[in-house]
């Protein structure tokens, strides 16, 4: 048998740990709720600025297509905050990735909206700061070579 003080201390410590765990969990949940609100605000803003066709695409696939204002090339912007812009061919297959993002800690909806506006209004400037990255193309064994500031 353990002496009573040891038992009491153990119980006290157990309660303390349980209480601490509950507080950590509460903070985690509050943080997650704030993150969810931020994300939702970003998506709401994005949807306000998408064309009806782009809205339909986004609802169906969490991505939408834009046409570059300078070259007429088509791009698919996928949900995300980086490496989410793909140049696509006439069949809608990705042929090249372009990575450019607005600076600062922004949510996905904001990032996607800035990318859309940039490609639709000043494509050359957007691609001038972008880094290219290869994307998987079915049937293509050698991915295109990487290059920076290649536009």
């Amino acid at each position: 048998m353990f002496p009573q003080p040891v038992v009491s201390a153990t119980l006290y410590l157990g309660r303390l740990l349980a209480e601490g765990a509950r507080k950590v969990q509460a903070v985690r949940e509050r943080y997650r709720a704030i993150e969810d609100i931020r994300e939702a605000r970003g998506i709401t803003l994005l949807r306000e600025w998408l064309s009806p066709e782009q809205q339909a695409q986004f609802d169906a696939s969490k991505s939408f297509n834009v046409v570059g204002c300078d070259t007429g090339k088509r791009y698919r912007i996928r949900h995300g905050t980086g490496t989410n812009v793909h140049e696509i061919d006439d069949a809608g297959r990705p042929v090249m990735g372009w990575c450019f993002v607005p600076s600062g800690p922004l949510v996905a909806g904001d990032v996607m909206l800035a990318q859309k506006i940039a490609l639709e209004t000043d494509e050359r400037a957007a691609l001038a700061v972008a880094n290219r990255f290869p994307v998987h193309v079915p049937g293509q064994t050698n991915p295109p070579a990487l290059s920076r500031r290649a536009y």
Binding site: T83, A114, T121, N131
Partner: protein, 73 residues
Amino acid sequence: MATQIVMDHTGDTRHYFNADDTKALSQAEERFKLLTTLGFTGAVRDAAGETAVTRSFDPTAEETLFFPRLVGG
């Protein structure tokens, strides 16, 4: 009410102002200048939904969206 929407870490911050109010319009213009000086890009939409980048303050714009400078990822 006209709106200036600024993308930020909270999602966005919206500044509403009455374009018929001279003082409010002046404040909106100051905000436009400050944000563009900081590297933000201003974009407006017309009634048809077409988007355009604006380099100078448009007192008739109903909605102006500002996003931070683009950088390579």
